[in-house]
Point group: C2
Chain length 99, copies 2
């Protein structure tokens, strides 16, 4: 299992509307092959910065299977208008949860 | 509850040694007032980049209480030598876990 970390920059004035759009989009991830969870976090020092964290079985489940799916197009249709910069995406692997 | 996200840059040649040092340091966080969990993640595209994610009751539990404690000095004594750049620290708040 790996984690997609998408760094999203949003106009803070539209934060509530954006958060509702992500919630509406959750079923798209729930239905995506190899997707096991999704969480949204908002920066405290920088409230225009959100991290969307999505658990995938592999990087390819995200970058190939999902990116080429209708689910991805629907996701972007729901939330794309809120991005004030192009999202920056990275992936990470858990080394350890210590408690 | 809030999450500290510390971006740590390490020489990848010393990754195993660094990860062992973080594991040895876990009891310092376990003993810290207001600390509820700690996880280490390593970048896939950029394996020199680690995210240390620590759950705290508040930003002050991290930035004031912990930073002024012996635990913080011991943490830095264990892992400071591995940092090839000064750590960058931010905090985030969970907006939602969608499944």
């Amino acid at each position: 299992m790996i984690t997609e970390i998408a760094h999203l920059r949003i106009d803070p004035a539209r934060a509530a509307e954006f958060e509702q759009a992500v919630e509406r989009a959750a079923p798209l991830f729930r239905a995506a092959e190899g997707c096991h969870g999704m969480a949204l976090e908002r920066g405290i020092e920088d409230p225009a910065h959100y991290q969307l964290r999505v658990e995938w079985e592999s990087v390819d489940h995200h970058m190939v299977t999902f990116r080429e799916s209708d689910g991805f197009r629907q996701w972007r249709a729901l939330v794309g208008e809120f991005f004030v910069e192009a999202p920056v995406v990275e992936h990470s692997r858990a080394v350890g949860k210590f408690y």
